[in-house]
Symmetry: C2
Subunit: 152 residues, 2 copies
């Protein structure tokens, strides 16, 4: 599997490899995501608040830049949970999972499937791409919304 687990040190090494720097902000943000309960995901705003309650005042600009950077490095997964903003979670092959989303109420169910990562691995390898993340997103209507008569 191409995806791997990151520590502050491996983050530092990979940043330096490209002439970049490990800042306290990046280390703190990585730490937050690593200590998040499995399957928990945060929006940029969520992350900002959480950092604040822990006494770390990192600017929103930096937060947006950092999560985008880490997503592009494969450290974080960028999730589209059918809302108007993105969510991020740590990218760990061991806890690799996917999302079933109700398009009406946005209720989301996590599920695992072993073959999905294999398909992602095979497909990216075949095209010469370096795999960062693969997500199966299912859009559907949940039982409650099927019964409701509310618009759409």
């Amino acid at each position: 599997m191409s995806m791997s687990f990151y520590t502050a040190d491996s983050l530092k090494a990979e940043l330096h490899e490209r002439g970049w720097r490990l800042t306290p902000q990046r280390e703190i943000i990585l730490d937050i995501f690593q200590n998040l309960a499995a399957g928990k995901h945060l929006s940029a705003e969520d992350l900002c608040e959480l950092l604040h309650t822990e006494g770390h005042d990192i600017s929103l600009s930096t937060i947006y830049r950092t999560v985008k950077l880490m997503a592009r490095m494969g450290i974080l997964r960028e999730l589209e949970l059918a809302e108007d903003h993105k969510h991020y979670e740590i990218n760990q092959p061991h806890h690799h999972h996917h999302h079933l989303i109700c398009v009406r109420c946005n209720q989301t169910i996590e599920f695992k499937n072993e073959s999905v990562l294999k398909i992602g691995d095979k497909t990216s390898k075949k095209e010469g791409y370096h795999l960062l993340d693969c997500q199966l997103t299912i859009h559907a209507v949940c039982p409650a919304c099927q019964r409701s008569i509310l618009p759409v």
Copy 2:
């Protein structure tokens, strides 16, 4: 399979079923997507321009409302191709495909995989959800970007 192909008539029937209406705008937009080359997808802006060149002046508001409506009905697929806006394409099980996206340059490759739809079907059925669409999205770094020294 729960997903099905839509005609103007079946769209009309399904709209009426919920007390809604088939308008010329909706019929025209459905027609555009049905006549699009396989695998081609449009943003709201793209669609607006295309409609304009064909002599149909449908307002942006209506376009946004219509694609969202059709996505929620399962007629269109709402794609996140790693840009800052959504793309839409017709949802046809026969041409069901997925996307491999380079997170750096956004180059996108389409690929097919028969088992993905099966997984989507099984998972949504198990949870009692009514399947609309399922997409496997692979985020990766393309060969060209692996070689480049450009930032991220």
